[in-house]
Structure formats: C-alpha cells, structure tokens
C-alpha cells in the first residue's frame, strides 16, 4: 500500500537537488526500473536509513548515486561481495544490489552464483539490456544468438545466459523475471523480492535504444517496448511452448521460490549454539 502518490515518491527519494541531470539516454529503460524500485521500497515501509543500495559499474550502476539511501557504488562486478559483507556485518540493514547483465553474469558471475548458493539475505536486481551500454553496446553474456553488436558484427555465435534461471539453479530462494514494459508486474515482483529473507533476485529485461536497439533494428524506444510486449510470456503459459519457442521468448513471473533460511539466520543460530555451550 503506497502512502504517497507516485510523483511524490520520486521526489522523496531522488537526490534531485544535488545530483541531476542524470547520464541516461532518452528512452532508456533504466528510469522505468528505478521508478518501480522506489515505489516498491516505499511499499515495504522500510525507513531509508535502513536501506543500503549497492551498485556495480555500468549505466544502471549509476542509479545508486541518484537516490537518497545509504548508497555504495562499487567496482565492476563486485556489488555482491560488498553487499554480502554489509549484510553479514549488520543484518538489520536491508541490502539491495543493483547490477547490469555484464556486471552480474560476466565479470561478477562467480560472485552471483555463490551469493545464490550461500543464500545471503540480499535482494539482487539485474537490469538486463543485452549489451554493455556504457562502453558503446558491445556483446554481453546475455546477447541473444545472432544479435549484432560492435564486438559481434556478424551476429553473436554464443548461447546467452538466462539470468533468472541461472540464479534459480544456483540456489536463490527467490528468482523472478520482469520487463520494463510490464511495469506494474515488475514493481510487484521487486516488492516480493524485498519482502523476504535469503537471496532474492529479479531480472529486469530493459531496453537500450542507444546501442542494442540501434544495432538490431529497433530504432526507437517505442519499438523496443513493443518487442518486450510481443515476446513476453508468463511462466505458466510458457510451459506449453517447445524448447525452440521458449528460447525466443522472455518468460516473466516467478521462476523459483523456496522457503529456506537465509545465511544470516543460520549464522545467528550457530552463534547462539556456541553461547549455550
């Protein structure tokens, strides 16, 4: 339940008086994601002093410095190690890691699977725009096969990662996928991820019209949004698709959800065990 109208939520949390204008391109999905995140945070009722936003490097990593929480803009790929240390040192904090696709599953891929396995109580939000936007649109580990980028001029020949599925396999207690077109659903999935213990992740399919779109036939932000709309299928309907069809689609909704204690709860239990001895 939102206590404020959306417009005022943005005003409440943006560092609009000290750190704007932002660096994002017109039509980028990052702003849509950030708005949804702020509304979801407002719904959780956490005080902003309790919230730590940890970001990596890349276009979306800059989100941390635009918002008035405790914010830590780390090194490329390293948001999750920092977030793990913060959460383990002070479990009272709500720790949110914001990463891009290159950040989370290329250079930070090892950290991601271990954060999932460890089930550290961090909410990871991975904004997947299928390329390295900040450096000019190069191929990333999520670039679809065949897609053209400055480092795959003839079309990528590699299989992409599906981030939310990767997290589910690696042991995350909650893993979901949303798009910047389905903005209400994205907000509610982020809210769900924030509302639970253990490692929770939402992969947000986003648009980078400046590079990915421009290189792959979607010349305008609107065309990219239309693509998100047409190629999305909810998880329950996706079950009926063939593996070949699934590969082409964005499967949205909750991919995995398990009731297992998070790392901080288990660690606390071992401390209590030692004290009782």
């Amino acid at each position: 339940m939102n206590t404020l109208p959306n417009r005022l939520i943005l005003q409440k949390y943006l560092r609009h008086n000290v750190h704007f204008p932002h660096i994002w391109c017109p039509g980028c999905g990052n702003g849509i994601f950030l708005g949804a995140l702020l509304r979801a945070i407002e719904r959780t009722g956490y005080h902003r002093d309790q919230i730590v936003l940890v970001g990596g490097i890349g276009c979306i990593g800059r989100a941390t410095s635009y918002v008035d929480f405790n914010t830590v803009h780390t090194a490329h790929g390293r948001a999750l190690p920092f977030a793990t240390g913060i959460k383990a040192a002070n479990p009272a904090l709500k720790v949110i890691a914001i990463m891009g696709d290159g950040d989370a599953v290329a250079i930070g891929g090892n950290h991601l699977i271990h954060a999932c396995r460890r089930n550290i109580d961090v909410t990871a939000l991975v904004v997947n725009n299928f390329n390295y936007g900040m450096t000019g649109g190069q191929m990333s580990p999520t670039t679809p096969e065949g897609a053209r980028t400055p480092t795959s001029p003839g079309g990528s020949i590699e299989e992409p990662f599906h981030i939310a599925d990767l997290a589910a396999c690696a042991g995350a207690s909650f893993s979901a996928r949303a798009t910047t077109f389905h903005v209400r659903e994205m907000e509610s999935l982020i809210f769900k991820a924030l509302s639970r213990d253990g490692f929770s992740m939402v992969e947000v399919i986003s648009s980078c019209p400046a590079h990915y779109g421009a290189n792959n036939g979607a010349k305008t932000p609107v065309e990219m949004m239309r693509w998100q709309k047409e190629y999305s299928v909810p998880v329950d309907k996706a079950a009926a698709l063939s593996p070949e069809e699934r590969k082409k689609m964005i499967i949205t909704g909750i991919i995995a959800e398990r009731e297992v204690p998070g790392w901080t709860e288990k660690y606390r239990a071992t401390l209590d065990g030692k004290r009782e001895k």
Binding site: H19, A88, N110
Partner: protein, 379 residues
C-alpha cells in the same frame, strides 16, 4: 585468565589474536598457503566473540566483503599470499580512494605466479605500494617475530582506523610459520584506536570533507548519515565529478592526511647505530639474521649497526636521513631482488654507498652470509 601468560604461538596465530585484540569483528578470506592458519583460527574464535567469519569464493570477493563490512561499521581483515594479493589489487584501490579502513595480511611466498607455495620471500614489497592502478596512499607494515606479528597487527588496525586507509601487513613465510614463546599483552596494555564518528547533525555532514587532520569522520551505513560511497573520483559529498579543481582538492587531501601522519606511521628500530659506519637495513625474518651479523662484525671491530624497518610504506625516509654525513654505507638485506635496495638508493641520492645482500631463491638468510658480504664490501 589472570595477568599476562606466556604462550607458544605461531606468527600467523599471533596475527589472528592481535586482530581480535584490536577489535576486529569481521574476517572474510579464501584459503591459501602460507596464510591459511589465520583463517582457520578465526573461523573458530570470531563466532565465539560474536563476530563474523565468512569464507568467500575468491580473494576479490574476500576483500569486497571486508570493505562492505567496514562501511557497515566493523573492523575487518582478510589474509592471503601473493597470488591472492594480486587479485586483491583492484579493491585495494577502491579502499584507498573511498577511504575505507581495512587490514590485508599478505604472508609472502616466492613468486611470480604460483611460485613456490611454502618458500619464503619478500617479493611483494613494491606490489604493496604500487599494485593497484592510479596514484594512491597506502600503509604497509611488517614484522620479524611472533610478538611483533601481534603488535603490528594491532598497529595495522589503529592506522587504518585513524587514517581511513587500507593497511597491508607483509609477513614472510618464515615469520608466519615460526613458533615462539610470547607473552601476550593484557587488555589495555596496547592502545586500540577507533575511527572518528561524525558529531554534526546529519544534514551538515560532508562525508569526504577532511577534519582538521585531513581525515573525514566516518559514519556506518545505517547510522543516519546517508551518503554516497564510490570508486569514481568524487566531491566532498561523495558524488562523482570530473572537474579538475574538485579532483585536485579531494585527491590532494588523500596524500596530505598521510603526510601529516608520517612521524606516527613510519616505525623503525635501531641496533648499535649511534657510531655505525656501516648500517644494515632489513625487515622481516632477514632482520634477525642481520642483527646477528652486526654482533659478529662488531666482535671483529667493524662499526656496524642495524636499522630495522617495521613500516615499509610510506618509506621511512627520515630514519635513513638521520645517518647522512655519519654512516658511509648502507647494506640492504632482503628476500627479493632488491626492492627496498632501490628505495634506499633513491632516498640516498648519492649521500651514502648502497650495498645489498639478497636471497631471492626461497632460501634462508644465514648471519654468516650477511657478515661475509658486508666484510667483502657488500655487492
């Protein structure tokens, strides 16, 4: 436990106990020879004291977790050896730029690369200074005994808290694995320092504005002083900037805060140096052999002394300069191909002859080897 007790302890164990004495409440690490005993011991001791021990997926993650924990208010440490230390360089730069206290123990083994896992070396001296990219301040300390491992670990935490800088403790494998009888200091015997916290109202807080000593007071995440921490060069609010004038102010301060502390940070010990014409310069386990060599040379009538470095970075230049015009010769004894030797040449600017006795092959230094080289003029 009543009063101080003598115990038989390994250098690595003394580091772990020194860290607890200094108030460390967070350790993240990755197993690597010859530092592993530190992690093993702390995995049992830290939880008993209510602290956090966590084994990470690699050394990058270990230092990242430590930096995160430090931002959350904990005194944090990691321990590694050369290969892991190489991986940590990225985030050592982050800690220096964002001014995050943290202690990194590097129990040095022979390199490069995987090298020889349990052969001693002091090959990481220059890496400790310049391993991460960009100009940055750093403190590196060392130790030549089990007792000093304890003492220098406490100092490492104190310096990192007082100056808000990563502090690297460089121990060679011999000292890390050496067992000696030591009397551990009682609580209160050694000073334990904590970072300064902001006292102004949160809306007045400028997280990267130096106090009168150049070191900004530090607020733990969640403490009500919300601000931005970044590896980008930043203004006094912690917000990214590319304005050369703002960068000048913020990065000059990083070096100024250290410069003001040189007298406090640069620790050395002199042995028979007052009338010495030849001064051996050494640190870590070779300093023990050098001391014996000084005794042997004195017995033969040579006016020899030992300047033992306990701080390597910032280089204790003033301690050497005291001997300009008095000693004719400095002979550096170290287990590498001359890393402090070059620094001694640089600082000397021709004011003294500089010789070296080196052991870069993973072998031990004998006092005889040093005495022979010094007698022979020192290569």
């Amino acid at each position: 436990m009543e009063g101080p007790q003598a115990v038989l302890l390994q250098g690595n164990e003394a580091v772990a106990r020194g860290a607890l004495y200094a108030g460390m409440s967070f350790f993240a690490g990755y197993p690597i020879t010859p530092s592993t005993e530190i992690a093993e011991l702390l995995s049992g001791l830290l939880p008993e004291e209510g602290g956090v021990f966590i084994q990470m997926e690699d050394e990058i993650a270990s230092l990242g977790a430590c930096l995160g924990a430090s931002l959350a208010g904990a005194k944090a440490m990691t321990a590694t050896s050369g290969p892991g230390f190489s991986l940590m360089q990225e985030l050592i730069g982050f800690g220096s730029g964002a001014e995050i206290p943290v202690v990194i123990v590097d129990v040095m083994r022979l390199g490069p690369s995987t090298g020889v896992p349990t052969s001693p070396s002091q090959g990481d001296v220059m890496q400790a200074r310049w391993g991460t990219h960009g100009d940055h301040p750093i403190i590196a300390l060392t130790a030549d005994s089990v007792a000093e491992c304890f003492e220098m670990t406490v100092r490492a935490f104190n310096f990192s808290e007082l100056y808000r800088v990563p502090v690297i403790l460089l121990i060679d494998e011999i000292i890390g694995h050496l067992r000696e009888k030591v009397t551990l200091p009682a609580a209160g015997e050694l000073a334990v320092k904590n970072r300064a916290a902001p006292e102004m109202p949160p809306e007045w807080y400028e997280p990267y504005a130096g106090a009168s000593n150049g070191v900004p007071p530090m607020s733990a995440l969640g403490g009500g002083y919300r601000h931005n921490v970044t590896g980008l060069l930043h203004d006094k609010m912690g917000l990214p900037t590319s304005d050369p004038e703002v960068i000048r102010a913020s990065t000059d301060r990083l070096f100024d805060k250290m410069r003001r502390g040189f007298g406090d940070i640069c620790l050395t010990e002199e042995y028979l140096c007052d009338d010495a014409e030849t001064i051996l310069i050494s640190y870590g386990s070779p300093a023990r052999s050098a001391r014996e060599a000084v005794d042997a040379l004195r017995a033969e009538g040579m006016k020899a002394g030992l300047l033992k470095l306990k701080t390597l970075w910032p280089f204790p230049r003033a301690a050497l300069e005291r001997f300009a015009g008095k000693a004719q010769r400095m002979v550096v004894c170290e287990m590498n191909r001359g890393q402090v030797y070059r620094e001694t040449l640089r600082v000397g600017r021709g004011r003294w002859e500089v010789g070296k006795v080196l052991a870069p092959y993973g072998e031990l230094f004998t006092p005889e080897k040093i005495a022979r080289a010094v007698r022979g003029g020192g290569k």
